[in-house]
Subunit: 132 residues, 2 copies
């Protein structure tokens, strides 16, 4: 929800999007509020929701889990960052829920952390030295 405006966050996100670009075609979409986001999600066939009730896991387990989700999803997987109160019960039905932290981060920081974890997952999968 809400476009990223702070220059430093845009630059940080661009850095990870650039690093992800050899691995994956990544698209970001912004919605003006939670209900617009949830409306858009109804059209997505396979979707991970970042939600306070989501599963927490270490980066290596996340990597295994992410790639199994990618496999299940086929060609297109969506990952959605909701508001601080999380998603409505109806939208959560049958979706995979993920949580990075028991703490609340700003949406903006969550975007950055998500992109870094996605990049980290690809590096773990490759067996590079990025994650140790």
């Amino acid at each position: 929800m809400g476009k990223t405006r702070e220059r430093w966050l845009v630059d940080g996100m661009d850095e990870y999007l650039k690093r992800l670009s050899p691995h994956v075609l990544f698209e970001c979409a912004w919605y003006k509020d939670q209900s617009a986001l949830e409306e858009a999600l109804k059209k997505e066939s396979h979707c991970i929701l970042l939600d306070p009730q989501g599963k927490m896991m270490g980066s290596v387990d996340f990597t295994d889990w992410l790639f199994s989700e990618i496999e299940k999803a086929g060609s297109r997987l969506s990952i959605a960052i909701g508001g601080p109160d999380g998603f409505s019960e109806s939208i959560k039905q049958g979706k995979s829920l993920l949580s990075f932290s028991r703490m609340t981060f700003t949406h903006q920081l969550t975007r950055l952390v998500l992109l870094e974890q996605l990049f980290r997952a690809f590096e773990i999968r490759k067996g590079s030295g990025y994650h140790r």
Copy 2:
């Protein structure tokens, strides 16, 4: 460990340091490796360690906990971010351990997340609308 070099991270940290400045005198120190960091910590009287074995909590509980640590610490509280493997057992003796996530973040992102959580804690304490 290691100075922050990426421009966007320096700018992001500066943003939160600026926002924290009315509340607290904040100093950052960098060390070249884990042992130099642990050596420096021996001189600190009261210290919170960010460690994979640390306690995880929500932002409101973190706020209460942080302010009780500040009170115990008197005038000076240190918070240290260790390497991905955490701190040595000997340095952890009697220290408070904190963890943001079961996931591994880069040191750099952890700095940013820490500053945002500290700022959030001061805002929660003030009762402002920042955290909801």
